[in-house]
């Protein structure tokens, strides 16, 4: 008898607790910046694509849902196509960890439901954003030895000017 009354009381007490249910979609949940949601490709501070098509995200992907092909323009490497099959993606974030250029990033967005699976295949134009994402300062080509338009050989961070082979000095 006491147990029954206690149960009723406790249940009634919940009516006065703070509600745990979020009224999604009217009410949006808080997602921290490092939430692992929809994958994007970001750009350098100078507005160029960050992805250099090194294939490390593709190889680290445990479900093999990333595929790309390298191409090259003015010494910069780009993906000719960059394709993610989100119907396979498990949002593990390994691709972001593997990325040497901070190009691929996971964002706090999970609203990607589709009625047709093929709509979950994202191409480069679907993935590429116009900003730098979580890393506003970083530019891979500033630290790599490869010259690109606007950055001559030997002018990356911590580089000396090119060796003059005709010099007789030691």
């Amino acid at each position: 008898m006491f147990d029954t009354l206690r149960t009723l009381f406790l249940t009634a007490l919940h009516a006065f607790h703070r509600r745990a249910t979020v009224q999604y979609p009217e009410q949006q949940p808080y997602l921290p910046p490092r939430y692992r949601g929809r994958i994007i490709l970001s750009r350098d501070p100078d507005g160029m694509e960050r992805c250099v098509a090194c294939n490390l995200c593709a190889v680290v992907c445990p479900v093999d849902c990333i595929s790309l092909q390298k191409t090259e323009a003015d010494g910069r490497w780009y993906p000719e196509y960059f394709r993610i099959n989100f119907s396979r993606c498990i949002f593990c974030g390994f691709c972001e960890e593997a990325c040497p250029t901070y190009a691929i990033q996971l964002t706090p967005d999970f609203e990607m439901g589709e009625y047709a699976r093929h709509n979950l295949v994202y191409e480069k134009e679907d993935l590429l954003i116009s900003g730098t994402g979580k890393y506003p300062e970083y530019s891979f080509y500033n630290v790599a030895g490869i010259p690109i338009p606007g950055k001559a050989r030997g002018t990356s961070e911590r580089e000396r000017p090119p060796v003059d082979l005709h010099s007789l000095l030691p």
């Binding site: 294939n55 390298k70 490497w77 119907s87």
Partner: protein
């Protein structure tokens, strides 16, 4: 054999090697850079430091460079010793000081020896915080990309390029931290083996330029073993593909043939496979227009043609054995032509006969490297069989090896042996009409017309064996020369005679075989090697068939209703007039080819056949070695292997004109090869060139993708998001996916890629060999069909020497003898569809003796009309001879031939 102790483990090893080799052969992981199995040791990089102890009681030991220390009995060494580890870690840390932060944009990434060695050494954090040295790059031509920032100064590139391959336009410049490897100025690397820098360089300084445009990481590409189709040497290759396009060709180690090195034509000539000139659908000629039709319509059209009368088949020396044989089965031996002119066919059949009859040895390329006297008789091997030329270049070092042995310097001590060898005489004699790349290392060169070279050859044979046919009225100089060379050859323990059919001279090959046979009486190791023109010339010679001239006669007589031409561009063999006559006389021509050739414009029906990367088959190299190539690309439906097309044609016949049931029933390559063995007993062993399609390791197929291939669930999702099964490959023991067996013990003919734990670069090959530079763990690749061992054990019947000695060549006043100027880039058919090779080929020039070069341009009258050509003086070219690039001036270029040469009207003579 001896035993050494590595970290407390007793390892049996050989005594004539260094400790680095011994450690690698024992399966230990010891990092190294400057040592290379083919280049030996110089001790430049200091990376392979180990601890050596003077005895069991020695606790302290001393650090030695493993690559510079010979193995001796009871050597005790330690790789894991903390001091040695620290030493190696500090060496690599210094090397990495200037290495750029480039790996994501480096073509070597993922198969980089430097990456592997850095990981192996444990160096994972850069402590250096100062500035890095940088270099300017050079444009090294269409094959090789240069990125000097990545250099670690191991000196492998210049040692390979200059010392091994004989190039002179790559060198080391500057000193200490600034050392630079490149050319004196920007420009194309001229050596025929420049592409090997890509594999020789332990990091990404030299990378594959054509591959870079379609770049994919090593782990993402499917790979299968293949055989080079660009000459008759039969170098082994690995072909890599992704997304059903061929991406690159790599060297595949074959201990007997190409070993570590592949020529540039083989490495970069594969571009024809992806070229826009590929035929991708059947084309039927309707109202004079070639229109793309479905396969069923094409076969119906063929059935209608075949109903009209006799079918004659023309095979090709560049088609696989199975394709030629299936055509032979379809049309029958009376109507099967080899697709060669009578002269070319006589030459290949003679080469086959001479090699079969030869009482001495038929050396492999590797055996040629140890020949101690070589005579090249009328063949520019550096152009017709480049890899063979490189082997001959190595043979010159034999004398230096003997000197080194006497001086007790180990042969792998590269710098010391080369210094000793700089005084040693060469034993290479080159006799050709025109200069060759081997002249620079030859003891003696002799320039003469092919007939005169053949006469000298016969004289040498007579000098060695008096029962050989003598040469009368030989010039006194030549007689002296013949005696001198004969004595040089007789003094050798492993003499070698090389000739070939470059100049279309039967006498040259007869002379070469006479010398080799004469030598073989006293020296059983006397070798003979004959160079053939195409990748399956030897296989076709063993099948046999009608020459093109006979087909022409039958066509003129109106006996041919349908002509099936398989992978053969007859416009390279028949003059335009002959082609026009053939087209007019034959109602229907069916061309089965992978590339649009000029012949295709005359065809009624064109069927798209698979190129070497898209099907499996067998090729017989010039040394009679049957070798299998395997499918790596799975092309869309109408493209299929040649024998499958011919089977489809046979099935479309209604009713079948003859019992060709065997052809109709073949299901896979094994059954084709079984039928081939029944029909041609001399080719029966071709089936054993590689394990068949039913071969399994532990019940599994072998995988052709790496275990870490990426993008499986997305790569074709732009077509359909549903997963597709991997394509079936009924003709190969390979699964087309990443599932299957793989390991260093797999058969040598089936190695799809080189990878071992901790070894991701091509240097992982070490793990696949019993001994470094020795046979593969999984056994040899390919099988020799020409056996030569049995017949000199029994009654030694006298060798039948050739008796028809040609008359000396007499220059004529009104005509010149036109000989082919065979070019590495330009003369071979398929590689000239490959963009980097096209970029590397140069415009045709007419080579004339320097003394008669009076004008800048001359008119050469060939059978298809006059050709105005720029003139290039060729030093040493005998009088009365002109060199004309084969197939580049007149497409159908038959030689040797006499032709009229005159000055360009209206142009004055050069003062």
């Amino acid at each position: 054999m001896t035993t050494i102790r590595i970290d407390g483990r007793d390892c049996p090893t050989r005594s004539d090697i260094n400790l680095l080799q011994a450690c690698l052969e024992a399966g230990a992981n010891l990092p190294y850079f400057c040592w290379h199995p083919e280049l030996g040791s110089v001790g430049a990089c200091r990376q392979c430091a180990i601890k050596q102890f003077s005895g069991p009681d020695d606790r302290k030991g001393r650090i030695v460079m493993a690559c510079m220390t010979p193995v001796s009995e009871n050597t005790i060494i330690s790789i894991d010793d903390p001091e040695a580890r620290d030493f190696r870690a500090s060496v690599i840390e210094w090397m990495m000081v200037n290495h750029p932060h480039d790996c994501p944009v480096c073509e070597e990434g993922g198969e980089c020896h430097l990456q592997d060695m850095t990981v192996m050494t444990g160096h994972n954090t850069r402590r250096y915080r100062f500035t890095k040295r940088t270099h300017r790059n050079q444009d090294l031509g269409p094959f090789v990309k240069h990125e000097m920032n990545r250099c670690i100064a191991c000196y492998r590139c210049v040692r390979f390029y200059r010392d091994y391959a004989g190039g002179d336009d790559l060198a080391a410049f500057a000193s200490h931290d600034n050392v630079y490897f490149g050319r004196a100025e920007d420009g194309t690397l001229q050596n025929a083996f420049s592409g090997n820098l890509v594999e020789i360089c332990p990091t990404g300084v030299f990378t594959d330029k054509p591959f870079s445009t379609v770049y994919t990481r090593k782990w993402d590409m499917r790979g299968t073993p293949s055989v080079c189709v660009h000459c008759a040497v039969g170098c082994n290759t690995i072909v890599n593909a992704r997304e059903e396009t061929l991406r690159r060709v790599l060297n595949r180690y074959n201990t007997d043939i190409n070993r570590y090195v592949l020529c540039d034509r083989g490495r970069f000539g594969h571009g024809f496979v992806n070229a826009p000139t590929r035929i991708r659908t059947p084309l039927n000629t309707i109202d004079g227009q070639q229109v793309s039709v479905p396969m069923a319509d094409a076969l119906t059209a063929f059935a209608r043609m075949a109903a009209k009368g006799r079918i004659v088949g023309i095979a090709s020396p560049r088609a696989a054995l199975e394709t030629c044989f299936s055509l032979h089965t379809l049309v029958g031996p009376q109507h099967f032509a080899t697709g060669q002119t009578r002269h070319e066919q006589e030459c290949t059949e003679l080469a086959h006969a001479l090699l079969t009859r030869h009482p001495g040895a038929l050396p492999t390329l590797h055996e040629m490297e140890s020949a101690d006297a070589v005579l090249v008789l009328g063949e520019d091997v550096c152009a017709t069989a480049p890899r063979l030329g490189l082997s001959l270049r190595q043979s010159v070092r034999q004398a230096s090896f003997h000197t080194a042995d006497n001086a007790k310097v180990p042969r792998w001590m590269d710098a010391a042996v080369r210094t000793l060898g700089s005084e040693c005489p060469s034993a290479l004699h080159v006799m050709t009409p025109a200069p060759t790349d081997l002249d620079s290392v030859a003891a003696e060169t002799f320039r003469a017309a092919p007939d005169d070279i053949a006469r000298l050859g016969f004289a040498i044979a007579h000098e060695i064996d008096p029962s050989a046919t003598p040469v009368t009225d030989l010039a006194p100089d030549d007689a002296v020369r013949a005696t001198r060379i004969a004595h040089a050859l007789m003094a050798a323990r492993k003499p070698l005679i090389v000739s070939g059919m470059q100049y279309g001279s039967l006498a040259l090959m007869q002379a070469a075989s006479s010398i080799a046979a004469a030598l073989a009486r006293a020296t059983p190791a006397a070798g003979l090697s004959l160079v053939l023109p195409e990748c399956n010339s030897m296989g076709l010679a063993m099948i046999g068939g009608l020459p093109l001239e006979t087909v022409m006669e039958q066509a003129r007589a109106g006996e041919i209703s349908t002509l099936i031409i398989v992978e053969n561009d007859l416009t390279r063999d028949l003059s335009p007039a002959d082609v026009a006559e053939l087209v007019a006389a034959v109602p229907d021509i069916v061309v089965i080819d992978h590339t649009v050739t000029p012949l295709c414009h005359h065809a009624s029906l064109i069927l798209p056949v698979a190129a070497f990367s898209e099907c499996s088959g067998t090729l017989v190299s010039q040394e009679g070695r049957a070798q299998r190539f395997f499918q790596v690309v799975f092309p869309p439906a109408p493209i299929q292997a040649g024998w499958r097309w011919i089977q489809a044609l046979a099935r479309s016949l209604d009713p079948p004109p003859r019992p060709i049931t065997g052809l109709l029933g073949w299901r896979d390559l094994n059954e084709v090869l079984a039928a081939l063995a029944m029909a041609f007993p001399n080719l029966a062993q071709a089936a054993m060139a590689a394990p068949g399609a039913d071969y399994r390791i532990n019940g599994e197929k072998l995988r052709s993708q790496t275990y870490r291939a990426s993008g499986r669930t997305v790569i074709r999702s732009f077509i359909s998001v549903r997963d597709q099964p991997p394509p079936a490959s009924p003709d190969t023991p390979f699964s087309s996916s990443m599932e299957g067996a793989y390991g260093p013990e797999m058969p040598g003919a089936l190695v799809p890629t080189y990878q071992a734990p901790a070894w991701n670069s091509v240097q992982a090959l070490n793990r696949f060999q019993f001994e470094i530079g020795g046979p593969m763990r999984g056994g040899p690749s390919g099988i020799r069909l020409l056996s030569h061992a049995e017949h000199h054990d029994t009654e030694p019947h006298p060798y039948a020497y050739a008796t028809d000695i040609p008359a000396p060549y007499a220059p004529q006043a009104d005509a010149v003898l036109v000989l082919p100027d065979t070019r590495l880039f330009g003369s071979e058919e398929l590689s000239m569809f490959s963009p980097p090779i096209i970029a590397r080929s140069t415009a045709p020039m007419l080579g004339l003796p320097a003394s008669v070069t009076t004008s800048d341009r001359m008119v050469l009258h060939l059978e298809d009309g006059p050709h105005i050509l720029p003139v290039e003086p060729v030093p040493g070219l005998p009088a009365g001879i002109a060199l004309c690039p084969a197939h580049m001036v007149a497409r159908a270029f038959r030689f040797p031939r006499m032709a009229r040469l005159e000055t360009v009207p209206g142009e004055g003579e050069r003062s």
